[in-house]
Amino acid sequence: MIVYRKILIIERKFKIKGTAQNMDTKNQKMQNQGNQLTSGRGAINRRMGMAKHLKQNWQLYSFMLVPIVYYIIFRYVPMAGNIIGFRRYRAGSSIFGDEWSGLKYFKQFISDQSFWRAFRNTLSLNIVYLLFRFPMTLIFALLLNEIRNIHWKKFVQTVSYLPHFISVVIVTGMIRELISANGPLNRIITYFGGDVTYFIALPEWFMTIFVVSGLWQSLGWGTILYLAAMSNISPNLYEAAEIDGANHFQRVWHITIPSILPTITTLLILDVGGLVGSGMAFEKVYLLYNPMIYETADIISTYVFRMGLDSGNYSYATAVGLFEGLINLVLLTIANVTSKRITNSGLW
């Protein structure tokens, strides 16, 4: 989720530049081909223009044909299946359910304690993770930026990107090995006289495990965007500041950070907007959790998966999924509007 948004910000940055180029092209095209419509014309012209527009650009549109069909079949058709949140689904009969059940399933999960527990867990895991990841990524990026030796800098970056490329199956496998009863963590604990702790079975440790492993995996990768933004800063600013007598830290504080502030702000706002989302973490939690730690480890997506498959109640599971999707959409829209208002860039 997070990364998607980052790309869009950069893309937006581009649009500003690109538009300028395209304007020139458009003017050129007008001279070459005539008849090119610009947005300044009247409505009637535009209507006539659509058919012509399609005719002129059919090649480019045809590029998109197959992918659009792909989206319709593989993304939108299944979306229609969400209707079973409002209808009673029975195996083997219609995939759109048999009869309307209205808001029955919604009412059921709202009064279900386990759902709220999953909701709480999703929120707390996301919030705590954000609280650590956000500043740490930024600081790490700033520190990386300070490395003088190009080779050393590249080395550290390369090493730090490695965990990002590792499959979640392997990451969770590593976690299990490291926190197992005769794994290194416990060995250190017993060396200092403590008792063997069965971390995988203790609810109070899950959040730590989740956050720490998440940081391990994503810290390095997350610095890329910040470093990109930093490399955009004109060196003249730094030189001018130095001439004015600013020392290094003052330069960072007064130039670097303010220059990348739009990036920081946008990312922060969008991260906050994604706090209810549990889709990204599904695989990791699913591979790590067990009934003894559902109390803190069960998130909405794993709850939905379990309720759907284990108790066979797909209508119920779909209702919960819809609810999550809706809240997500609302929050992200609010976040996007806020971000656009403050920093002029957002997702859409």
Binding site: K13, Y70, Y71, V77, P78, V156, S160, M174, A228, G308
Partner: protein
């Protein structure tokens, strides 16, 4: 350039910190490597840290000579290859037109695809769809669900939007149609983003286990990630009947670490060399100044 005392101290501190970060990042790998080469008794007694104890290759030999593992490895290569090619093709041909601002339909199509990032069909409808299309236990079944990644589309779109129009214009003047311009001018210019896409998609397919869990039932079709998961979840080593030999006990002790490393190996070997491309790809704005 004068450097203050404080700054020098800071540089020293930074260096130390970076070293610590590198160690922390690499430690789990070193631990796995050590464990995979160690003997069973050393592992059980907890003697292994980052250096193998009682070095032996038993488990590696066993895993690599086991038909199942090799077959799943081969499968993964095939799936990743087919998937990456398909993904690259379809992602780029949708991203390119979307990058052209003069196409009016774009303002409907872009939200059309972005919306799918937030809302999906859920497990059952997607599964039913794949079943009804007859795609279970096929390569297509593995590739299609994730073939076009919306955020990758946006990534490529941003890149294409930044390519100089003049070259495309030149192509048009030379008489190339849009297809020609795209394949013979734009794509060759887009090596960085293509390299990025290849890396991202390939890694995504290589590491994917959930899609195979859903759609690839038969053992012969499994990719490495799913095979690894069945080992890690303990099913494989659960009370293995028949004879228990010393060799089997050795294997039981470190089969997980061996398999994990074998699965991660190709990616670890490849990604540093492609680093400049994907970093470039991600940076987009910076270098194109």
């Amino acid at each position: 350039m004068r450097e203050s005392q404080g700054y020098r101290i800071f540089q020293g501190f930074n260096r130390v910190l970076m070293v610590l970060i590198c160690i922390a990042t690499l430690y789990p790998f070193l631990y796995l490597i050590a464990q995979s080469f160690s003997s069973e008794s050393a592992i059980i007694q907890g003697k292994v840290n980052i250096i193998p104890v009682e070095f032996n290759l038993t488990t590696y030999i066993s895993v690599l000579s086991q038909g199942d593992f090799l077959r799943s490895y081969k499968n993964t290569v095939v799936y990743a290859l087919c998937g990456t090619i398909a993904s690259l093709f379809f992602t780029s041909i949708v991203a390119y037109p979307l990058s052209k601002p003069h196409l009016r339909l774009n303002k409907f199509i872009t939200p059309f695809i972005i919306f799918t990032m937030y809302f999906g069909g859920g497990l059952i409808p997607n599964y039913v769809l794949m079943v009804n299309l007859g795609l279970k236990n096929t390569i297509a079944g593995f590739v299609l669900p994730g073939m076009i990644g919306t955020y990758y589309v946006l990534l490529m779109k941003a890149f294409f939007a930044g390519t100089p129009q003049e070259l495309e214009e030149a192509g048009e003047i030379d008489g190339l149609n849009k297809f020609g311009i795209f394949f013979r001018i734009v794509l060759p210019l887009s090596k960085p983003i293509i390299a990025t896409m290849v890396l991202f998609y390939a890694v995504g397919y290589w590491n994917n286990w959930f899609t195979s869990y859903l759609y690839l039932d038969e053992r012969p079709m499994w990719p490495v990630a799913y095979y690894l998961r069945t080992i890690i979840s303990g099913a494989s080593t659960s009370a293995d009947p028949g004879e228990v030999t010393a060799e089997k006990m050795q294997i039981g002790a470190n089969i997980k670490s061996c398999s994990m490393l074998l699965m991660a190996l190709p990616i670890i070997c490849v990604y540093p060399f492609v680093q400049k491309y994907y970093v470039q790809g991600m940076m987009l704005g910076g270098i194109k100044e």
